[in-house]
């Protein structure tokens, strides 16, 4: 699904590179935790997959396509196959739950009847059935993150990127979110999640990739958060 070969990224002369010679393979259907201290390169890793950044060296392949050589007008097609979830949810405050999720389909020009069918389905999947008409500020943090996940998943992407999705949530709510992500992973969706949350990583026993100073220092199946220290 994702292949990094000797990928480096530096943000200009004199700066320490954010990623240095990273080589990594993530298969279809994998669930991968990306761990490491702040500034270790986790976000850069995700941004390279989305082509929000361009690698300084090496090659990034996503779903069989060379992202580095991709023409800018083809980037939207790449992003349609990738869902993204953030720590701060990034919902539109003036739209309802339903409209927030539908927005992702509207901008892709999906027909009205498809939207009318898919959006409630997805909201049911994330456990928000019956809350379609609420606005984000009327929801708890966990519920807001569920809306964000619904929006990321409504187009049924083959890859879901999550950047600290539980960073703003209490432990109990975080568990609920992780169960949801696990369920989405079972549908065959590859998930890459950057996190600081050691409890969750230890509980889930999934593949763990640890980054430090832009390098992969650990990559183990069914790993835990802290064993590299």
């Amino acid at each position: 699904m994702i292949t990094f070969e000797h990928v480096s990224k530096s943000y200009g002369e004199g700066h320490r590179p954010a990623l240095a010679e990273v080589t990594l393979q993530i298969d279809k259907g994998d669930f991968v935790f990306l761990v490491g201290p702040s500034g270790s390169g986790k976000s850069t890793f995700l941004r390279l997959i989305l082509k929000e950044e361009k690698a300084s060296g090496g090659s990034v392949q996503v779903a069989g396509r060379d992202v580095g050589r991709m023409r800018s007008w083809k980037v939207p097609q790449l992003r349609r196959q990738i869902g993204v979830v953030f720590q701060d949810f990034r919902l539109l405050a003036d739209k309802t739950v339903y409209e927030n999720v539908a927005f992702a389909l509207q901008v892709l020009g999906k027909p009205r009847h498809v939207i009318a069918q898919t959006v409630p389905e997805t909201l049911g999947l994330v456990g928000l059935g019956g809350k379609e008409k609420r606005r984000p500020h009327e929801l708890s943090g966990g519920e807001q993150q569920r809306v964000a996940i619904a929006r990321a998943f409504v187009n049924r992407p083959s890859l879901l990127l999550a950047d600290e999705p539980t960073g703003n949530l209490d432990p109990e709510t975080s568990v609920g979110i992780m169960k949801l992500l696990d369920r989405i992973n079972r549908t065959g969706t590859t998930i890459v999640m950057a996190t600081h949350d050691d409890d969750i990583v230890d509980q889930m026993r999934k593949r763990v990739v640890e980054l430090r100073d832009g390098k992969v220092v650990r990559d183990e199946d069914r790993g835990v958060y802290g064993s590299g220290r």
Binding site: L50, S72, W73, P76, Q77, L78, R79, R80, Q81, I82, V84, R90, L92, F103, A104, Q106, V107, L108, G109, K110, P111, R112, R151, N155
Partner: protein, 301 residues
């Protein structure tokens, strides 16, 4: 579906920055008004030139007893010379009609045109006799007048077109001032469009970020911004056209209704069919250019 989406995004954007949108509308209106006014003055100049040049006759003034010696070294025109000249004019295919104005005729005309206090000081032999020639094609004025200026006994073939030259100069200067103002104002409106887009892009960055992430095409993300500028300029252009129409309808038309005013003038039809569409198109094109330039700077896709 997507058309509706783009339009609703555009309306949201316009409503969110009402004052900025209003500023764009007004500045565009003023700039296009000056631009249109310049075009109309030029149009009037063209009409005047066409009409005047059509009416122009070639006046061939002949030497008389009072003529200047450097122009008439042979003194007053002789009967033979006059007959030769008349024959040459009649034979010329470019000439439609020839009238002869004797010194007595000229004196009579002079007395009609001028106040007696002036006319009483003039005697018939001070006025030159002349041939008044109407041309088949008034455009050929210069060649005809040059050909006959050299005939023996001809004192002068003045260029009548020069009479209106000061007027044309004034109108041309007026046009240049109007176009200069229009250029400055158009620049202002382009910068305003650019600033508006910068503000809108900032206030809508959440939406655009999400659109980008879910894979909306660049066109879909940028179109609402471009359309905002275009619609504002379109409204400005229509208002400017309206202002020009009012100016022509009430200003110029009043001039026309004055007795004795026979010159053809621009009318509201010129505004509706020519100037209006042109300035609206110019406004829209400038807005599109300004939009794309500033989108490249302020909206990452």
């Amino acid at each position: 579906m997507r058309v509706g989406f783009v339009l609703s995004e555009m309306v949201t954007g316009l409503r969110r920055n009402v004052t900025m949108s209003l500023a764009v509308v007004l500045v565009t209106m003023v700039s296009l008004f000056f631009f249109g006014a310049g075009l109309l003055v030029q149009k009037q100049v063209d009409i005047l030139k066409g009409d005047w040049y059509d009416r122009v006759q070639v006046s061939i003034f002949m030497c008389g007893s009072e003529s200047r010696e450097d122009l008439c070294p042979g003194g007053a025109i002789t009967d033979t010379q006059r007959d030769d000249l008349r024959e040459a004019l009649n034979a010329d295919p470019r000439v439609a009609e020839v009238f002869y104005e004797s010194q007595q005729d000229a004196f009579a005309n002079f007395r009609e045109q001028f106040d007696p206090s002036v006319a009483d000081n003039v005697s018939p032999d001070q006025l030159p006799e002349s041939f008044r020639v109407r041309l088949v094609d008034p455009e050929g004025y210069l060649e005809v007048s040059e050909d006959f200026a050299g005939y023996p006994g001809v004192e002068d073939v003045p260029d009548q077109r020069a009479i209106l030259q000061p007027l044309f100069t004034v109108l041309n200067v007026a046009t240049q001032i109007a176009l200069g103002l229009a250029a400055v104002m158009l620049l202002c409106s382009m910068m305003l469009v650019s600033t508006t887009i910068r503000l809108t892009a900032f206030s809508r960055r959440r939406e655009t970020t999400i659109m980008r992430l879910v894979g909306a095409s660049r066109a879909l993300i940028q179109l609402p911004f471009v359309l905002e500028g275009v619609v504002a300029s379109l409204i400005g252009g229509l208002l400017a056209s309206g202002a020009l129409w009012v100016m022509v309808n009430f200003g110029v038309s009043r001039l026309r209704s004055r007795p004795g005013f026979t010159t053809r003038l621009i009318d509201t039809n010129d505004v509706l069919t020519q100037t209006g569409p042109v300035i609206v198109a110019v406004g829209v094109v400038f807005a599109i250019i300004a939009s794309f330039i500033s989108l490249r700077r302020w909206l990452k896709v």
